[in-house]
Each structure stands twice: as C-alpha cells, then as structure tokens.
Symmetry: C2
Subunit: 403 residues, 2 copies
C-alpha cells in the first residue's frame, strides 16, 4: 500500500506515532513490523553467539504443496477452504510450522520477511507467564503468596490480596474495562499512563504501568472466574522483576533468547519510565517464536540442554479450571487460561499464546507440532479469526500425524 | 550512579525522554547506552547468520598490561599519564584496539558491556559519508553533481547549488549555528524539527530533517572553507537515500553490517517521519565498529571478500584541502575533513570518525592499527579530550609498531 515508501514518503502515506492512529487498519499492516520506529523500546538480546540452526525438511516444496492444498470447513459452517486460502483470509504476515522439531512450512507476506520482527501483542503475556512459571518451578517465586507480600507498593490496590497464581491465571477480581468502544473505559486511563509521550499539562492520572497498577480497584472476588484483563500481565511483570531484580526484557534474554540460540534480538516497548510492557509490547522474529514453541513442546530441553524444568510445560498443560473459564470464548469452550497461556479443549493437549490481530504460538503435543503465525487482521477480535484458524490448524495436525 | 535501577527506580534516578535533560552529564553516562529506550529507532540489521569471529591475541593479559603501562605527555603539557589513567580521564565506556587485524586490547566501563550498544553521535556522519563514498567509487553517485539535480525538493535552500562533494567535505556555505549556548541558534530550530515528539500546537516550523534542510539559508560561498555543520550529513543521507531508494539504515545493513559479519544489529534514531538521523543517530556495538575500522584499513576486503572498491579508503586517505580546513581544531591543524572523516596530520596517514563525547574510530594505516573508543565525556567538546587522547593513541601505535 506504499506506507512509508520514498524519501520522504508522500504526506498521505506517512505513519507517525504522535500524530496518527498508527495501529488501526490499514496502517496497522505496516506498523506491526515497525513498532520500534514509532516507540521507545528495550532490547531482548540474543547475545553474541551464532544462532542455533533450525532443521528443515530436505524437500520443502512438496510438503508445502501438500499443506497448501489441505481443505477444512470453517467453524460455524461456511464454504470449505484450503489452507492456502486461509492465510489470506486471516491477513497472515508470517507462518511457520514445525513437526518433530523440523520446519515443514514457512511463508512470509505483507510487511514481514525472514529477518523482520512483528508485534506479538498479547503473546507478550505468555512470555511473561512463562518466565513466572519458570521461577515458580525453580522455587524462587511462590505462586500461593499474596501479591502485596512481594510488591508492597501495591497495598492500596485490588491486587493486594490476590495470589500470584490468580494473577497468572487471570482469575483476579479487578475493575478494569477493556471495551475500546467506550471512551470512559479503564483502558484509556491505562493507555494514558503507559504512553511514553509527554503528559498533557493538566494531566493528573497515573504515570507508567506501575502507578496504574497501584490504583486498580476491586470488582468481584479473586479466584472465582477467569476475566481476561491485560493489567494482570503487567502486574506479573512487576512481580517477576521484583523477585529477580531484572526487567522482563533482561530475564527473557537470559533465560530464553540467549540459551535457545535465537537468531534475532527481540524487543519490548517501554513506558515513560523505561518499564517494558509485559502485557503486550513484544516484537520478535517468526522463527525465534518457533524456537520458543518447540522449547515448550520439548519441556524445556533444546539440543540436549535443559533450559527450565519440565514441570513448566506440564503445569501449563494441566491448565486452569475450565469451570472458571466460562463461555466468553465459544471456540475455546471447555478450555482454560493458565500462566498466561490458552489451554485448548480437545484431546491433543494444545496450548497457545494468542495476540489480538491473529498472532499465535500454537503447540500441539499430540501431533508434535508447533505453528507460529503473525497476522494483522483488521479487527482486534480473535473470535473472527478462530473460525478459519482452529480447523485449519487441526487439519495440518492430522495431516502431519498421518505421515 | 544507580540510574534506572529498581522496579521502579527511585524518582530522582529515573531518566525519561519527554521530561528531563537526558543527554546532559551525569544522566548522559546512562543514556549513551540506552538511546532506543528513549527514542524511536530503526534497525541496522546484521542479518541472520553467524557473526564473523574476531581474531584475538593468544596471551591478551600480557599485552594489556604492556599497553596499560604506556606513558605519554598530554598535548599542551601537563603531567605524564599512563594509558590506563587516560581511560578514566576521558570517561571511556569501551575501548578496542586491533593490530594487524587482531584484537590486542579490549575493555568495558560505565554503562557498556560487550553485548551493549553505545551512541556514536557524530561518528554517524562518517558512516553516512562512507556509504556515499562507496556509491561514488562504484559510479552510482556523481560527487561533482549539484545537490538540486539529485534532490529537486532542495531547490529553494542553500544546498541547491552546492556539489555533492562540497556536502561530503562540509565546505558548503550555510547559515547554521550550532552554538548550544545561544538560545536562538539554528540548532534549536533543527532539534525541534527533528524531534519525534508531537509538535506544540502553535508550532509552525519545519517538520523532520528533510523539511529543515529545505529552508537552510546560504552564508558565504560553497567550496571555500570547511565549516563543521551537522546538516551536511543529513543532506548527504537524503542524497544517498534518493540515489539508492534505501534508508541509510537499510543501506548500512546491506553494504556493511551484513557482509562484514557484525555480531550485533545497530540502530539509528528517527525523526517523526521515520527518517534516520544520518548526522548523529547511530548506536552500535564496540566490536562492530572495530570490524568497520578494520574493513576501511583493509581497503574494503574482509576474509578475502571485497565489500567495496579500494578507492573508497584511498579517497578518504587523500583527504580534503588542508588550507580550507583552517585553524578551528588546533590538535588537528594540517589535517582535513573529507567524506565525513577526519584526516589527521602526521606521517601515519591516520583518519578517524569522531563523536562529540569522545567517541572515535581511529585508523592508523602506518601502524596497521584500529582503535575504537566509546566515551561519555561530560562536556561535548573534543578539544578537551584530544590532549589526553591523541598522544595516547600515538604511544600505542609506536608500541605496536616496535613489536
């Protein structure tokens, strides 16, 4: 679409952070690959060594054709569709399929190339949750502890008497509305607090993620039901940083990006105080999230080295309480949300990270399959994307299991 | 000094872009390693391959002790000083010495570590100049052409009738005052144009580097004398981008960072329209600038591969006209400035990139030596740093030549 092409780009093709709605469609399709050009960011370093090579199929073209031709029926009916057609329907920017640890399918579209990075959005939560789960499994974070016992500054907020586990599973009772259509929704106060731009002169609200978290009010009781609220991930980021003395970026680098042999640095956008956005600020390379998914599938082992206890994957796979999960996500009914991962219903033991424009790290243990998808679906609504995604992923799993 | 430590850092130890003077001492000592956390930036990708390893001395400790003990007398007199003492005197953050292509000395201080990046400031100009010199040597940029013949939008500004070479050598006649102490100096109009932050409501000035360049007025005649003015580098960045259709970041990646086997991505801060700051916005790893210096010393060849014509180095080494260089830089009297590189007086054929807080890539062909230094000297004045730098570098060169 010609966004940001030319020196300078034409006036109606410039996307900038201060002046325009850079994260709505169609600008979104450019912005998802260029977050660092719009915002201050902090690096998730891969270190300085050689990347750990991914293994590839010897005959990738043949397998690619087989997968492209797979047919499935979208959830809720509708005309059958091929895998190849589903990529366009979902505004896919990049897709990678690993089977038995080997890349069997990899394609790039839109703004993304193999050496690019893409906004992960809410998949960031799953990274934060994974880091927390590692600390829990290693015994340095007690998930039964009250949040206020770890972060005393939170004493006056609704988080004070939640347990770490309730935060990790988003079963906290918080007054926090994420209805983007409501101009008075909490999300806007949160956004104003989080923005790295200078505050307006008459601004009296919280500054930065941490100050926002300190003033979240309660709504309902902790532990009763799953409510998807981004602020839990930011709270978890603060917990993890307080316990380790390290920013989420630094911890992700030390525990994951460096030892797993990532091929690109990742990065996370920061607020005006340099705090990384643990609830949604990650941008990363497609293959590196493939390495991450494979590492989870392999219960923490890569190339014979153990990066974290097997209990981390097992805890995520056990899932949360489906009764608390409720009916808000029809396509996932019977599933759950735990440690900031979505645990899917069905007998494959699937768990996944999910971003709001169709991004996913989808781990299918039964099929020994990992799918990573970056996408920039125009509307921030996975319920619109799941119908042409979940059966497509199942079709690939069945295809690979039959081999 | 505890800048930005803790979750959150104490209020008097927070450094943010919108609210504080983040680039003055002592905050400077943190900010030079963290520019991307304060500003939007564009990546200079190293690509996805394994870094090209640097060769190291088998017995580094012994050579390090020898170099640390070297004594020299600062320019202008003063007590003799050891090399080791000079590092502290110059607020060195990182220093690397290559001899015959082999690392013989490497140390990190302050905010920098081997896997960190540091603000290069005006060394960015030398990167832009190198890219331009490569295009000239390859025949895709005519350095005798008028700027307006390449960038017609510049027709109304002082740059219009300058030649590309005059821009590359900063012998343009431009009204542009970089006196930071004068509140009406052009540098402040330029800074306001360049800032990626939203403009104040009543703002009527130029927006972005390119608009600024379009309204630079003439002062004196082109070609008569060297005047160090940053805007020349931004103009050269525009020229280079117009000729290649690529941003300076992308070109630096394609022509240098990828093929030379850089071990880290670099990055350049961008204005509100996504244009990289070709006059000062680079941050990079110490060793990667060592690779760059070595590549120049070796006239474009690395590991047997030629990345650019030998004429590039030769053109820089021939220098500009010392008569035009004048007396503004006493320590460099008899030298010159060409292709955005400083050509030093003396019989070693030294040429260098220089940043305003003591950063340098110092290439000494006679000694087959490259020194890269990152520093955060409190005052932005190389004349205060040269006295304890130039004789120190010469002492190391003589030491290495005697081996």
């Amino acid at each position: 679409m010609g966004w940001m092409e030319g020196f300078p780009p034409p006036a109606d093709r410039i996307i900038t952070q201060p002046d325009s709605n850079y994260f709505s469609f169609p600008k979104l399709r450019w912005s998802v690959c260029h977050m660092r050009e719009l915002l201050p960011t902090e690096e998730v370093s891969r270190g300085l060594g050689a990347p750990a090579p991914l293994r590839y199929l010897p005959d990738p073209e043949r397998e690619r054709a087989s997968i492209d031709a797979l047919r499935f029926t979208p959830l809720g009916g509708g005309a059958p569709m091929t895998w190849a057609e589903s990529l366009e329907a979902n505004y896919t920017d990049g897709i990678l399929i690993l089977h038995d640890g080997q890349v069997v399918y990899e394609r790039y579209f839109g703004c993304l190339a193999e050496d690019g990075k893409h906004a992960a959005m809410s998949m960031t939560k799953s990274l934060t949750g994974l880091l927390a789960e590692i600390l829990v499994a290693e015994g340095s974070l007690d998930d039964t502890a009250l949040v206020s016992s770890i972060v005393p500054e939170i004493r006056g907020s609704a988080f004070a008497d939640a347990t770490v586990r309730q935060v990790m599973d988003m079963t906290t009772g918080l007054h926090y509305s994420e209805d983007y259509a409501d101009p008075n929704a909490d999300i806007w106060v949160y956004s104003a607090a989080a923005s790295p731009l200078p505050k307006p002169e008459n601004y009296t609200g919280p500054v930065g993620y941490f100050e926002y978290l300190q003033q979240v009010r309660p709504e309902g009781r902790h532990g009763e039901a799953f409510h998807y609220k981004t602020v839990n991930a930011d709270m978890l980021g603060w917990i993890v940083s307080r316990v380790t003395g390290k920013a989420v970026t630094e911890l992700a680098s030390e525990r994951l990006w460096r030892p797993m042999g990532a091929e690109q640095d990742a990065y996370i956008q920061v607020d005006g105080k340099g705090v990384p956005f643990a609830g949604g600020g990650l941008s990363a390379g497609l293959r590196d999230l493939g390495r991450l998914g494979q590492l989870l599938l392999d219960e923490g082992v890569i190339d014979g080295r153990r990066l974290f206890p097997a209990e981390v994957t097992r805890s995520i796979r056990r899932g949360g309480d489906p009764a608390k999960f409720g009916d808000a996500y029809p396509a996932l009914r019977g599933g759950s949300y735990t440690s900031m991962w979505w645990v899917y219903p069905g007998d494959h033991g699937v768990f996944a990270a999910r971003g709001v424009h169709g991004q996913t790290i989808y781990v299918d243990p039964a099929a020994r399959m990992v799918i990573v998808r970056f996408a920039s679906f125009p509307k921030p609504q996975n319920p619109l994307i799941d119908p042409t995604t979940l059966p497509a992923f199942e079709a690939v799993a069945n295809h690979l299991m039959a081999k």
